[in-house]
């Protein structure tokens, strides 16, 4: 599962030799993220974000496990246990809570960057389709985990967010309401819903960790992609993961931690909503129910469907919202271009950047008041989103004439040095 020139694990210390004979775990780590994994030498900083996502997951699990020790999972006690006990009485509880809440945001920031990198550099294409598919599974699990986590403090947005999201299921014809009541364990979110969300919120991160292992396993079969999209040809094209990329990821990790620390210590509530500091009240609906920032683009898609075309508008919205993520599963087969990297695809590159702007527009609309101007903006942006993946990308991959590719990674690297460029290829 690796290149023939990969270094072999040869423990010198007798204890390591003894362990390696009994259980080759050190060998496994060595081959996965040590010197035994040859990686293209030309990865830019966007390749840091996979490791950063893994770090974010570990941060969430560590802070989450400790928070769970102090959390009171009941509709009567949840808000008080988070905002009273944890924030005021638990030693450094305020730090754990802010680190966990902002850790979720950091997780999504790095995961979205990781996904965007995959889209630009065509990381989803053969032979890495399985890596991409598992990535989409991780993303779905991450969204479910984040949603359920946001319900736990039992503030106004927690409660009404749970009400809205579980309301999606009532859009299913005939059995919808029945399914919603079954999922919630009642007619509205209450103890039953809160407890099952807590249980699943504790379980799913470990499921994510398991799928992450599969994701990395699938990655190690073809090896990492790179900014040129040209496959590794010989030993010259690669460097061992350790120490080269442990050093580069280490640098990226410290930058990540600085941003994370700035959020936790100096703007812990910036990405949250003030209404979640009000205890859940089933009798008082907030003026504007909005999800956390990382769901806003999808929320905008949901809200954009306001016309009953054969099916009710609400069902269209729900289908489109789930569809907007599920279509990612088909991306490796929607984009037929043999060229991976967007750097060599002049047409695709333009549409890629339009799509990125489009997602930001959707994010804005998702959080904005539903006045006519914003609704129109959201409807146009949603149209582009679906047109991009289902119509534009398949057509572009046929029409486009890509730029000539370098013969090898090494050739591209050396050519870059000659022309005096120092910046990483975008």
């Amino acid at each position: 599962m690796s290149f023939p020139w990969a270094k072999q694990y040869a423990p010198k210390h007798p204890v390591m030799q003894w362990i390696d004979e009994k259980l080759p775990l050190p060998r496994f780590v060595y081959n996965a993220i040590g010197s035994g994994y040859p990686v293209p030498r030309n990865l830019n900083y966007f390749w840091n974000f996979g490791v950063l996502s893994g770090v974010a997951l570990v941060c969430q699990i560590v802070t989450g496990v400790i928070l769970a020790m102090h959390f009171h999972s009941s509709a009567a006690g949840a808000f008080e246990s988070v905002n009273g006990t944890i924030m005021r009485d638990v030693n450094a509880g305020w730090f754990l809570r802010f680190a966990h809440a902002n850790g979720a945001s950091m997780f999504f920031i790095v995961v979205y960057t990781h996904i965007a990198r995959g889209l630009y550099y065509g990381s989803y294409k053969a032979p890495r389709e399985m890596v991409w598919l598992l990535g989409v599974v991780i993303f779905l699990l991450l969204m479910a985990t984040a949603f359920m986590g946001y319900v736990l403090p039992w503030g106004q947005m927690s409660f009404w967010g749970a009400q809205v999201i579980t309301g999606f299921f009532s859009a299913i014809p005939v059995v919808g309401d029945w399914i919603r009541i079954w999922l919630l364990g009642g007619y509205a979110p209450d103890d039953a819903a809160l407890n099952r969300f807590f249980s699943l919120h504790y379980l799913l991160p470990f499921v994510i960790a398991a799928v992450v292992i599969l994701h990395i396993w699938a990655l190690h079969i073809p090896g990492s992609s790179n900014p040129t999209g040209v496959e590794v040809k010989d030993e010259q094209d690669t460097v061992p993961f350790h120490p080269y990329y442990t050093a580069k990821d280490g640098l990226g990790l410290v930058v990540f931690l600085i941003v994370f620390a700035l959020l936790i210590f100096f703007a812990p509530d910036m990405l949250g909503h003030p209404d979640n500091y009000i205890p859940a009240n089933p009798l008082s609906t907030p003026a504007h129910i909005v999800p956390e920032w990382y769901f806003l683009p999808f929320y905008a898609i949901l809200k954009s469907f306001t016309f009953d075309l054969i099916l009710p508008a609400k069902l269209w919205g729900v289908l489109a919202m789930f569809g907007s993520i599920l279509l990612m599963f088909f991306l490796p087969w929607l984009d037929k271009s043999p060229v991976r990297s967007g750097s060599y695809r002049p047409m695709y590159r333009i549409f890629f950047w339009i799509m990125i702007v489009d997602v930001f527009v959707l994010g804005y609309v998702g959080g904005a008041e539903p006045i006519a101007r914003n609704v129109i903006l959201g409807q146009i942006a949603s149209m582009y989103y679906f047109a991009h993946f289902l119509i534009i990308v398949p057509i572009v991959s046929r029409l486009e004439r890509p730029k000539p590719l370098p013969n090898s990674i090494t050739e591209a690297v050396l050519a870059k040095g000659k022309s005096g460029e120092t910046a990483v290829s975008a």
């Binding site: 640098l251 075309l309 489109a320 409807q379 149209m383």
Partner: protein, 276 residues
Amino acid sequence: MSALFVKSIKFLIGGAFVVALFLALWTTVAGMINEPAAETAAEEFHLKPEHLALQSDGPFGTFDEQQVQRGFQVYKEVCAACHSLSLVSFRELEGIGYTEAQVKAIATGWTTPQPTFDPKTGDRGERPNTPADRFPHVYYPGQGSPPDLSLIAKAREGGASYIHALLTGYQAQPAELLEKFPDAKTPEGLHYNPYFANLNLAMPAPLTSEGQVQYLDGTRATVDQMSKDVSAFLVWTAEPTLEKRHAVGFATILFLIALLFLTFGAYRSVWAGVKH
């Protein structure tokens, strides 16, 4: 035929979403032209609070203990009659400069007692507060409880600035509002305040005259001063650990910047001589 269908299924699905959205867009635009959204009094007369500068602002912010103590006095003598502070414990007052003995005196002298319940006899009673207790819940007979103030500075857009603007913003309903929106007259029992989301709130102006509170430190107790002080106090109740958060954050960032230099050096030395 079926092969063609499979081949074009992506265009069909994509097209269906685009058509549904196009029709939705059409109806939105038509609706906007046919019946433009009517303006409401709340949209036109609602005011955004002016920024209230406090010592706790910014990355190095700390609490002004004198001001927070004055704010506590305002809370105790004015707000506490109706508003609870049920997430805050009396012992936490030591964090704003009161001594242990003073906190004990404040707790035992607190007007609202702690409710008790004897599980053996079923008797309900009352006892004086102790420093270990949280501020007792205030019941407001017949009308439910006004909002708890523990987290109010975080639970409202604008935080302390909003609280200060609201407390000083009570006024008579402007004549031009009534002229333009005759139906928007403030109902009986509510009070006009342009900083409140729908302009009319149930709470009457709580701070009405200078000297309503006799400050122990001799500060002139104008309505504006009392509003500022109680806003500062509510920033403290919303997050008593704010000062500690800033201090730990400062040390953490310094440490990480040092680490950044080290990791950058490590990166440079590892990659020296390797073109990439």
